[in-house]
């Protein structure tokens, strides 16, 4: 599974961090960090994060 985030669209709502904390987080400067190729077992979380992102910035492949 691959995760892409369109950082031009991302407005740092943090909904992804809440839906899938094992994939998404903010670093100390408040920048969004994510695992680009997380384990397949996290697919449901990844899809939930993509659904929860108000800017539709997350793409799960």
């Amino acid at each position: 599974m691959k995760i892409k985030v369109d950082l031009d669209a991302c407005l740092q709502h943090g909904q992804c961090v809440i839906a899938a904390p094992e994939i998404f987080s903010f670093d100390d400067d408040g920048n969004l960090q994510w695992k680009a190729a997380p384990d397949e077992a996290l697919r449901d979380d990844a899809e939930a994060a993509a659904d929860a992102c108000p800017e539709q910035a997350i793409i799960v492949e």
């Binding site: 407005l11 740092q12 709502h13 943090g14 909904q15 961090v17 809440i18 904390p21 903010f26 100390d28 408040g30 899809e47 993509a50 659904d51 929860a52 108000p54 539709q56 793409i59 799960v60 492949e61």
Partner: protein
């Protein structure tokens, strides 16, 4: 799975008949916006052989509404990018592929008769399950007058009409200081209009945010140049003026009616379901008074066991996704002869953007009886980050951030999640 925008009138032939012996219920969804699309996606994933028809009254492919009061209408007002490009950006990215659903846009469902949906184009759709995802429409003031200047904001077409009137120097009267009223007021301010908000309550967004935070938000609007008239109502419209109940006449070139919403439930009349405020559903999203009708999204009135057993409609963007997944679980369980798991307790959240500041809420602040500022200072709203905790009878029910850092909000969210789940099992 790739994500694509759902725009093509899908060919429905492919999955029409199941040859595999797997369950292939016929499912009709009325309303092709966020809730309808998310339900179709969740059903497609849970029941690959289901035959899904998705009917939407709007002619546009399903799109996202929140930007319509924020950056999208700002773009529409400036004239570039073009309307088409702005709509393109709003379209919902969907996991559905062409052929997954039979998408019928530009026609309304007018009624349900003997288990069939009747569409405005005369077509009938037979269904084993019917899902109501028809959302809300804006409420209008009953007073006549000034019709050529009165606007509402719910859909893309509304936004295009209103955007044409957003010219620097124009005078705008916003009737209603709820979220949509406050957002359009702040966008209009940014575009150089002179904006007045008329709100009957003592503060804007009072019921949603509670006295202290609502008062702070009111101050933010005033500081950014909005004239905020609270405790006042519209008496009438005369000669293009908005006449208030204290006799003041506001001159306005543009009037936005942002008075709240009315559920689109007329098509369900006569089906026996409870339509007293939206569609009353149980914890499986099945409509009270029916065995095969469900409701999802803004129109659904449900109890959230995280807080209590009272049924409420919740007009937040997160609700369509949460209720859609629940409805799909219910239908797949019942179609396969299982019983759906009990209880429905999603974590509500919403956000708003006003005067360049993001407000983010988790939980149910409207239920709280006390508010405690745990970070920052409400007098600094819009200037420095603020986090407020909301409690009901001493128990944490919500956390709201005003320009707060997402990092710290995420931490509080985890705490809130734990606290509200505990209350539930207590």
């Amino acid at each position: 799975m790739t994500q694509r925008q759902l725009r093509m009138p899908a060919l429905s032939k492919r999955s029409l008949w199941s040859e595999t012996g797997m369950t292939s219920p016929r499912i009709a969804i009325a309303g092709a916006s966020l809730a309808g699309v998310r339900t179709a996606e969740a059903l497609r994933a849970a029941l690959p052989n289901a035959r899904i028809v998705l009917v939407g009254e709007e002619r546009h492919a399903p799109y996202n509404r929140p930007p319509l009061s924020k950056d999208a209408i700002e773009g529409l007002a400036s004239g570039h990018p073009s309307q088409e490009q702005i709509l393109e950006k709003l379209l919902l990215r969907s996991k559905l592929s062409p052929g997954d659903v039979d998408l019928r846009l530009g026609r309304a469902v007018v009624s349900v008769e003997s288990g069939q949906l009747r569409l405005a184009d005369g077509a009938r759709v037979s269904a084993d399950w019917i899902i109501a995802a028809t959302g809300l429409r804006p409420r209008h003031l009953p007073q006549k007058g000034a019709e050529e200047r009165r606007y509402v904001l719910r859909g893309f077409d509304d936004a295009c009409r209103l955007a044409g009137r957003l010219r620097a120097g124009s005078r705008m009267a916003v009737i209603g200081g709820g979220f949509i009223g406050c957002e359009i007021a702040s966008t209009a301010c940014k575009l150089g209009l002179h904006v007045t908000i008329v709100e009957p309550e003592p503060q804007p967004m009072l019921h949603a945010l509670g006295t202290r935070v609502a008062a702070a938000m009111g101050n933010l609007h005033r500081r950014r140049g909005v004239r905020l008239l609270t405790g006042r109502r519209v008496h009438s419209f005369s000669n293009g003026n908005v006449v208030l109940d204290d006799g003041e006449a506001l001159e306005a070139d543009v009037i936005v009616e942002a008075l709240g919403t009315v559920p689109n439930t007329e098509w369900l009349t006569g089906t026996g379901v409870d339509l007293s405020d939206g569609v009353l559903v149980d914890d499986r999203m099945i409509a009270a008074g029916s065995s095969n009708m469900l409701a999802v999204g803004d129109i659904a009135r449900f109890a959230n066991l995280r807080f209590d057993a009272t049924c409420r409609r919740v007009e937040h963007w997160c609700v369509p996704g949460q209720t859609a997944r629940r409805a799909a679980e219910t239908i797949s369980a019942l179609s396969e002869g299982r019983s759906p798991s009990g209880g429905f307790a999603p974590m509500p959240s919403f956000w708003s953007e006003q005067h360049g500041m993001r407000l983010q809420s988790f939980g149910a602040p409207a239920l709280a009886d006390t508010q405690t500022v745990i970070e920052g200072d409400l007098s600094q709203v819009g200037e420095a980050p603020i986090i407020v905790e909301y409690a009901r009878r001493g128990e944490l029910v919500a956390v709201v951030g005003l320009g707060a850092r997402p990092n710290s909000l995420a931490r509080h969210h985890a705490r809130l999640d734990k606290a509200t789940i505990q209350t539930m099992s207590a």
